[in-house]
Chain length 291, copies 2
């Protein structure tokens, strides 16, 4: 399937080129930050769904992809999961690629069940790609690779995250585990590389460690990077430039709260308009990095 | 809260002593292995729910705890999550401790949402403990530790798993990440240790690597171990003995498929009776390890 227009890396490249914006908006419906007018009288799951569907309308056409964060839906129980299903459908209907932020990781038939639950079009969500936590080992990713090959899906494996504690375990010692995982990501993505020399096995790489950016790009030349930690967590445009290839492909900058919610504790009188304005501001900020 | 009878490690010690069995039955409702008579005509989520509630009745009083595997429920969408909620309620009503096998791991408000979704009594599940994947770093576990302290809950952090690929990343190199994480687990559990010198921060440690067992017990003297890989994956009674303390506390052996399903492709004509018989067999097998 690699190289066909329907592979995830090729669809992502096309969507980034079409919008001109190498970015993705995170859908994190923090219950305590939803607009009061919207949440008033609604079940929390219905409020999360309505807010995210508004956000999708506001960012469609501005960015190529959205990234729903499963945790906020799961915390609301089974109605929350039903809301997530509606949000994923809404995003796909709006022409957005959907990267599910689930950070799943297990083995054998359990990993297979997670792959079915997150990526399969015949399953409840059918997302384009999913984030994975690799601690269990390479075989925790195998069922997801099968979806890359068979269904044109993609994955982003946690390699180097943007939180301060990432230093404690990911990049500690003389032979950091993040480098081992990065090498595995590169090998699996390279052998599946599509039209642009990029494969479906991507990596999560922090915006907050500019000194490491060139290292990660060199270690994984055939991988897309999903890049958290931009803006709120401190990463700026110059901090992430080295995560991109020279042609402006290869990285997708994430913003969630910075787009969804106004700064501070103020409320948006018209939240959908507010999201659209902030999404365009974010898109302009990162457009110079793109193709 | 540490040391009070309501802390998770103390409740677990009491339940292990009461049953005499240091073990836990995994609730993995593989859709293709459910009894045909039960699944026939039911929505897959209803079949998973009915099967797990039968299994709970069959193992209550035999083992102290059950471990529902979230992936099998999630793969069935929001009806699957509603089934999981019913299964967790059923297990608690039957007097079983519930360890949710979720392997979650994230940071900040997302980790907080996962903690609320899995452990909080005011949340959708309210389990006694949850499995966590530590790749993001120590702060990915912080919101869960707050539930240990405030609500008498527990966690089991992936340290050394039973799959062959665990070697690739967990214990590779001169300074393996599993040792670093194990040291952190020990420190956090020791400072919260209860009546038996065991705290609420446990570790997942494989039954399949007997040569490492004494190392892990010595590294984490104040932690409960959740032990997968017994039986089907090859670990036997002598392989896991060194994971226990001398008083028979400190480890909980897991069996899932070996108890839930008859060997091979045969079907149980009376599946609940079959589960009860296999659960008693498993309990007898591991009872000599316990207190």
């Amino acid at each position: 399937m690699s190289g066909t227009p329907s592979s995830f890396p090729d669809r992502l490249a096309a969507a980034v080129r079409q919008t001109g914006v190498p970015a993705c908006v995170g859908l994190d419906p923090h219950p305590e930050r939803l607009p009061e007018h919207l949440a008033h009288g609604l079940h929390p799951a219905d409020a999360a769904r309505a807010f995210c569907l508004d956000a999708i309308e506001a960012v469609a056409g501005v960015v190529p992809a959205v990234k729903p964060q499963v945790a906020f839906f799961e915390a609301l129980g089974s109605p929350g999961l039903a809301a997530l299903e509606a949000v994923v459908r809404g995003a796909r209907d709006a022409g957005l690629l959907v990267i599910l932020d689930a950070k799943r990781g297990d083995i054998g038939s359990t990993a297979e069940a997670y792959a079915r639950g997150t990526l399969d079009d015949a399953g409840p969500l059918g997302c384009d790609a999913v984030t994975l936590s690799p601690y269990l080992g390479p075989e925790s990713l195998t069922p997801f690779l099968a979806r890359c090959d068979r269904e044109g899906k993609g994955v982003f494996v946690l390699v180097r995250t943007s939180n301060p504690g990432a230093e404690a375990w990911q990049v500690a010692g003389p032979d950091p585990v993040a480098d081992r995982i990065g090498s595995w990501v590169e090998a699996e993505s390279a052998r599946r590389a599509g039209d642009h020399g990029l494969g479906p096995v991507g990596a999560v790489i922090a915006a907050t460690v500019p000194a490491e950016a060139a290292h990660w790009r060199a270690l994984m030349p055939h991988s897309w990077f999903l890049v958290p930690g931009f803006g709120a967590q401190g990463g700026g445009v110059e901090d992430v430039r080295a995560l991109f290839r020279d042609d402006g492909l290869g990285a997708l900058i994430v913003s969630a709260r910075g787009v969804l919610f106004p700064p501070g504790r103020t409320a948006d009188p018209d939240w959908k308009k507010g999201i659209a304005i902030r999404a365009r501001g974010f898109a302009q900020q990162v457009a110079s990095l793109g193709p």
